[in-house]
Symmetry: C2
Amino acid sequence: MISITDIESAAARLDGVAIHTPLLESAALNELAGGRVLLKPECLQRTGSFKIRGAYNMMSQIEDRAAGVVAFSSGNHAQGVAAAGRLLGIETTIVMPSDAPRAKLDNTRTLGGNVVTYDRYSEDREAIAHAIAEDRGCTVVPSFDHEHIIAGQGTVGLELADDLKAMAISPNQLFVCCGGGGLTSGSGLALKDRFPDAAVFTVEPEFFDDTARSLRSGSRQTVDESARSFCDAILTPSPGEITFALLQAMNAQGLVVNEKEVREAMRFAFRELKLVVEPGGAVALAAVMFRKAPTVDAVTAVVISGGNVDVDLFSDVQTSA
Amino acid sequence: MISITDIESAAARLDGVAIHTPLLESAALNELAGGRVLLKPECLQRTGSFKIRGAYNMMSQIEDRAAGVVAFSSGNHAQGVAAAGRLLGIETTIVMPSDAPRAKLDNTRTLGGNVVTYDRYSEDREAIAHAIAEDRGCTVVPSFDHEHIIAGQGTVGLELADDLKAMAISPNQLFVCCGGGGLTSGSGLALKDRFPDAAVFTVEPEFFDDTARSLRSGSRQTVDESARSFCDAILTPSPGEITFALLQAMNAQGLVVNEKEVREAMRFAFRELKLVVEPGGAVALAAVMFRKAPTVDAVTAVVISGGNVDVDLFSDVQTSA
């Protein structure tokens, strides 16, 4: 089972590769929360999301690099894998939904990734990726349910925890944007190593609350096939096996926000934080703004997970208050 | 005369008040520059610009705090002074142009500043501020030409230099957005203390190239009264006496960018850096993107000075490529 040592080893591998993102604080957000909020802006990370952490951590440990790797992703993991591949000299093929944000498709190609598109609602991306892997004898780089991926994403929580320690601040809780749970489980694990009493909350968009329902029911739940959301980065059908076990073990709880709240969070990020945040990257911020769990007189750490949003959607969100 | 010790003392005063902003690097920007570029994003600073550094550094040294302070500013210094006043328990009055961005006027008031507006093109803001100061017996907090202000703004360069040292990177040059020269002279001084061979470049918008012309001619020049620019944060009529002397002493050189280049830089910041950058905060980034001084095979440090831009202008810039 993955431990804090794995996350610390990942941090050593990522030194000089991933940006140690800062902790930001906003008086306006503290006021909204009625407590103290520390933000970890992974939109500032290389490739615009935290995903390069896990991708690089796993790919740097692959022994047979010549065969390349294959991955499936709505776009952030895609860019992380492509960027890691370029750094490590590994050829990358990424299966992406045809309706992924144009910027994500373009950037993945610019980073050197070979993009294969599929229909998000009728085709099985895992099957496509595994067929490619079998055909070429190459490694699949999963987007969340793998210990090396989780350890890499966990460096977000490790940096956050160690920076809080250095500032002599004890967080009461952590809110993290949650798709398959790699970022939340890894970061939660690291945070709870440094601050055992801190609570961990996953945050998901409405209709894609599989992790929240899974944590409540005690078994892995799936989303309805008809579910739709503009939070493209975190639309996974169910939590991973490993990630769910980790989240359960740390007594994580699930929070859910709606589209209106996410849009408000994206506007707040523009206005008060000067950050470009994508819908899926804004759900944890929305959860704190709309107090989905008590934040009054508490210290809440919040991960903003990505900023890869097309300009048209961004402008629509900003100007349609 | 101001020295590195003053800047180091300012850094100690600002500990826990100003955010130590990170250094960001973008593969896309390195490619455009043909070299290595390290960005210091002061748009992430408290109040959305570097200005709180100088304001707090000066105001924390005022002995008679009861009488309050008065300042004049197009908006970023205004917010810095108001925020510092709130932290220090000093009442603040700020003289602002009536056509300042709405967000800057609103935020200054939200931070507790008493805003007095004037007409940018027909009234003398310095005269208004000094009349208030005389009337109330309070201190004027100038926006650039004061040693305590310069020392505070210089902490931007100090953080940047010390972070580069820690990364074992030697910068060849520094590009800084320049209005009256407080940020450039202070930051240049700090950088050249750590890296004596680094060159310092001020960057101004076209028609407001008073510092560039002053540095070229050897004496302080002024801008034409008919000059207009959308870079509201850095529209000063001439460099300061102290700031100009400092810039001359360090052999600074002046670069100039046009509005089209600034708009392109704001789009680049959105797309590649996930940062909201205001026009005046983007001029140094524009200078590196459009190679206003040679950047090939060089290490260039660039300060992004602020992100306080109204949503309508921002959306117009982003969607009118």
